[in-house]
Symmetry: C2
Subunit: 713 residues, 2 copies
């Protein structure tokens, strides 16, 4: 399956090979079209940055008037440049861009970063310009990055390509960043710099008219030097493409992501600067969940987590051992670790016996191990060795306060030695005064030794929590969506065709239930009747009591209008009901939908909603007040696998109700899980279905049946 998907991606993501982006990220020669001698102009800053950062390739400033820019020989046009050009920056007014792209194509330039603004973000006129240059680019196979963007950075010493006008010059490292917003991308890069962890590659692609975030993530996924990916977005142009990429990359390396615009007001703010992408929807969160992306609501926490990912192995489980030389911070750390799903197992007798020999008498031997403030390097070392050997421990959290009366360098050296063994992840809350030279030395030992150091226990604990979360991503296998072979796709197609021919927005009751039945979604037994007598006959076939629903195309909200009568126990009641409805609803196509009445079960709801360019969201919850008052529902993106359907049942807040409480019987979960999967298959087969409500599904101890449904196409 993975291999198949990979092929799909090659097709999806621009239809070309990953190596195509090498000309963007690993250029051997760069032309700067619009290089300028004017200090602080973008055409100047980009040239300055390339030189300052030590770009290893050739730089060709393009300027029709100047013989040189910032001391580097300039050329009037790209055609005057003697050698090959991989990449061009374009920093000229928008109206000249289509022609320049044509020129780039002719000149054999493979990638172009368009820094200039004034395109799709500026309304119709800009959009026309964008379409024009894109047409030229496609003609020659030129890849466009941007427009209206910052650019890219490759910190690999082999390239040192700083194709950007920002002001942070990162050390080489293993974290790669891709950000829709240049402002956010820049401060994330700055944050990694401040944390003294290196960066690998950086990309902020503005309007993203050609090279997409998905394509960049895919490129980072294939890049061996990238250990983890940081992603910032406010939505996706092509969510399906992103999902395909993300679910492969996230298995190989962690993707840490943040999606802003999670509140209505935030989405509004996003709309004002990125246009069409925004909208408060839960789809992005669901994409992240389904594809195994680690989601953050706090960008500082995301950067702090990246620090741990940059040097530490992934834990094999959730069991953490704590070493501390001060009490309170261990309490704070414990709170946070436990909140993140980690456990603190008791130590084995063997471990305790070793520690009794090696620790100071005041030490506390347990988990946390309190080596006390006077504990030195050998005490930390023994505690670390014990935890590394302990089979029930998957990771280690350290509180290290630089007590003035200890040899803190020796403590640091011992932590580093164990860290270098790379057996289990270590994070360190390092509490010190960095303005004192003595402790700067200690800090440097830890940093150089690859120990992720934090200034607060909660921060360090959260970072370890993120490592564990990625362990969960790697171990989670949602499987593939089941393809039920007992469905009647052709029959369903016919029903939908007919509804389309009738120009219906909503399917008729009969069509709705027939469609469900074609996918073997169990429904309460039903008949359509034209009058009271045939309704009575239908009820006798089905068995009393029954429900009667007035059925006509115009009646969408029939229950609000008295069009539904429940618990009809005999022929007389049916007769009276039908006659009453006839009077109330003066519709030519009025029929009577007779259905088995099923009291006493648990009311469930399931639903479907089509999302543009993504597929469908499938919803599940418990009906009645639970959905009305508690909004206790859960969503997944179709196709929903069996694992995911089970997760839907178990992840609602009131999931206990499904097992039965207060002497009530539990429901037949298997039936509901199957309904969800069949629903998923139905909408995957028929993307034209816009909306479905199975509300309620009545669930009993031994079965679950749809008793009301609505389908919009």
């Amino acid at each position: 399956m993975e291999a198949i998907l990979k092929n799909e991606i090659k097709k999806n993501v621009s239809g070309k090979s990953v190596h195509e982006l090498d000309s963007l990220f690993k250029p051997k020669a760069i032309a700067i079209i619009g290089a300028s001698s004017k200090e602080l102009s973008i055409g100047n800053v980009i040239l300055k940055n390339l030189v300052h950062y030590g770009y290893t390739g050739k730089i060709y400033p393009i300027n029709p008037k100047e013989p040189e820019v910032r001391g580097i020989k300039a050329y009037p046009t790209i055609f005057d440049v003697p050698g090959d050009i991989d990449l061009a920056h374009v920093i000229i007014p928008g109206k000249f861009v289509p022609q320049i792209i044509e020129d780039c194509g002719k000149r054999g330039i493979k990638s172009v970063i368009i820094n200039s603004a004034g395109f799709s973000e500026m309304g119709e006129e800009g959009m026309a310009l964008q379409t024009a240059f894109l047409t030229n680019a496609k003609k020659y196979g030129v890849r466009i990055f941007g427009p209206n963007c910052q650019g890219i950075i490759n910190a690999d010493p082999q390239y040192k390509a700083y194709c950007d006008f920002t002001f942070t010059f990162p050390k080489p490292g293993s974290i790669s960043i891709v950000a829709l917003s240049g402002g956010v991308g820049a401060f994330i890069m700055q944050s990694l710099f401040d944390l003294e962890i290196g960066m690998r590659m950086y990309a902020s692609n503005g309007n993203a008219c050609d090279v997409s975030i998905s394509e960049v993530v895919n490129y980072y996924g294939e890049d061996e030097g990238t250990k983890a990916v940081i992603l910032y977005t406010e939505g996706f142009h092509n969510p399906k493409e992103f999902m395909d990429v993300a679910q492969i990359v996230s298995k190989k390396k962690p993707i840490l992501a943040m999606k802003a615009g999670r509140t209505e007001e935030g989405a509004k703010a996003a709309a004002s600067h990125t246009g069409s992408l925004a909208g408060v929807d839960i789809a992005t969160e669901l994409i992240f969940e389904k594809t195994g992306i680690l989601t953050f609501n706090n960008e500082e926490e995301m950067c702090q987590a990246a620090m741990a990912f940059s040097t530490q192995p992934i834990p094999k489980g959730n069991r953490v051992g704590i070493i501390t030389n001060t009490g309170g911070p261990a309490v704070i750390a414990t709170d946070e670790l436990v909140s993140a799903g980690l456990q603190l197992p008791a130590l084995s007798e063997k471990a305790k016996n070793i520690l009794k020999e090696t620790m100071l008498p005041e030490a506390t031997i347990g988990n946390p191990i309190d080596v006390v403030a006077t504990g030195g390097g050998k005490h930390f070392r023994s505690a670390l060795d014990v935890l590394m050997d302990e089979e029930t421990i998957d990771s280690v959290y350290i509180n290290f306060v630089t007590a003035p009366f200890t040899d803190t360098d020796d403590v640091a050296r011992n932590i580093v030695e164990v860290n270098k063994q790379n057996r289990k992840p270590i994070v360190c809350n390092f509490m010190t005064n960095m303005s004192l030279e003595r402790f700067q030395v200690t800090a440097k030992i830890l940093k150089d030794g690859g120990v992720p150091c934090y200034s607060f226990p909660t921060t360090a604990a959260k970072a370890l929590g993120a490592l564990y979360q990625y362990h969960q991503v790697q171990s989670r296998n949602i499987g593939e969506a089941k393809n039920f072979s007992d469905t009647n796709k052709a029959g369903a197609e016919k029903i939908l065709e007919q509804a389309k021919n009738e120009n219906r927005e909503f399917l008729s009751s009969a069509a709705t239930y027939q469609l469900l039945s074609h996918y073997n979604i169990p429904v309460a037994d039903w008949r359509i009747a034209a009058d009271a007598n045939s309704a009575i006959q239908a009820a006798e076939e089905i068995g009393f009591p029954v429900v009667i629903k007035a059925d006509a195309e115009s009646l969408v909200h029939k229950s609000d209008m008295g069009g539904v009568a429940v618990n009809l126990k005999n022929a007389d009641e049916i007769h009276a009901t039908v006659e009453r409805m006839k009077k109330s609803f003066d519709s030519k196509d009025l029929k009577f939908f007779v259905q088995k009445f099923l009291p006493g079960g648990r009311e469930l709801i399931a639903g479907v909603s089509a999302k543009k360019d993504l597929g469908h969201l499938i919803m599940f919850g418990i009906g009645g007040i639970y959905v009305e008052v508690l909004k206790d529902v859960v969503f997944k993106i179709s196709p929903v696998t069996e694992v995911e359907a089970k997760e839907m049942l178990s992840s609602i807040k009131t999931s206990k109700l499904l097992d039965g409480v207060r002497g009530e019987k539990g429901i037949h979960k298997h039936s509901v899980i199957e309904i969800i999967q069949r629903l998923s298959q139905l909408v995957t087969d028929f993307p034209e279905i816009q909306e479905m409500d199975l509300n309620p599904i009545m669930a009993f101890e031994n079965k679950a049946l749809v008793v009301d449904a609505r389908i919009r196409i």
Copy 2:
């Protein structure tokens, strides 16, 4: 009321005046008993720190063998010291401490910091020593700080008293810290130092055998130089004392607090280092809520918030205006601000017209105001002026990225000028590269100008959220608990007396309902019957249908044992039930509790639980599955005021159910609010009540009645 409370505190908090702690925090002369020439020993570090920090008073090292310590003249005993001594550090083995305290008393020393360990934290023997020195201290009125503690710091230039062995030397400022854990206190102090905000006073009091956290908070409350208090604790020795102090101090200045041990595992870790204080309980959280303390689960966020409190005024409402020069960070900030309860009002026409004149053409005029990256000082200034004048705006959030092509110093100067007007609070997310000299200058302008600067939008937004939260604390008035005069306290007392005389743990049914009735808590009509006939008579008096409950002292969980029969509609059913129960429960004192059966209402629960040294917690929730499955209950500390009782009803997750959903009628809230208040009055009058369960209370459209209750004394 405030005046009365203040008097109470003076009594509660050590029974002495606030100024008593002046000898501790503002000492004019300090003796160091146990001063040592041994580098890195505590007796050496404390002396070194005092000198290094520039203590303005006299220092007397006490050492029986050395003529001088670290170049300062030493004395063999405190009796050899020529001048007055306010404060003594004691750093000698525990067994000598009782005698030394006796000596300190004789010598007229007013306060003693005992840094030495080996007292109550070390079991019985240590406890005996602690009791011994405390007896001596009380004899002479010596105040003891510690033992087993770090000490205090007063950064006020008038004193510069660094009576502590830690390693962070704060600049003078307006934030004071008190921490149970020295480890946590130290890193909080370090964090303020790293944030370049000053500190006022610091205290970490270890075993806290005399001077308590409450007393220190009270002292900070009275200290004019303290603008905000940071508190770290793992619980309280005397929660009542703390509450009395906190509710006065928190009205005067913000108290930012963190209580660790909020998970079971965290509490266990806390227990291992602070002993008796720990325990997962919600009482501390409730104390914080009731007294208006700002609670944090994240110590970094707490310190970041302190930075805003140190310079900014408190907003007058929740309406924030955003100024940004980059898109994405404004989206992130908006998300966080809205999550913190703030709103982004639209700008007035007047404001928009001004901005249309003053902004660059690319700017976005709205809220957020996007001055764009090329916006300079005058653009920021105009946006700031507009927001300061805007009546619908209470605070300002700024994103300021130091775009290389702008005069960032000019932007900073303009922000500072407006900040100095002190009209509305400002926070600034300042995104820059601090390793570049150019931006260090910009940063310094902002810092010196008192603008709280953060490195992440979420961080800055959270800090502004904290300022707003304090606005809410200041505006919230829970009022005083109502004292219902129609209660029969004497009658209730008699019932409880009798139960005590009978050595009962649980009150009998009759006593339970009588007690409730004495406090006019409405109960469903009831009778006690000895046999079937009298039960039938009782039912006829009450009116059918009825409930019958087997009633005997041994039957606590009667409903599990078949001791409850509901909905009995006639004499025959009563007869059969009574005879069955007689056979099932072979108890001599067996009686039959006959009560009106009340179906169809909404089941509510209320409860009470006594907390040592604090009073009672009062609980409220919706019964049945809501409490069982959703744990949807809320707690308050007694006495509960009307405002608080109302909050209890509105703050449960399912509060909408009380208003009626799906065509159901809402309940009579007023009755329930009164039941909660009367319950509170009852347990306040009778602290011996350990536990009460009113479960359920049946609530209807026009009334609410207790139908089952249990009281443990």
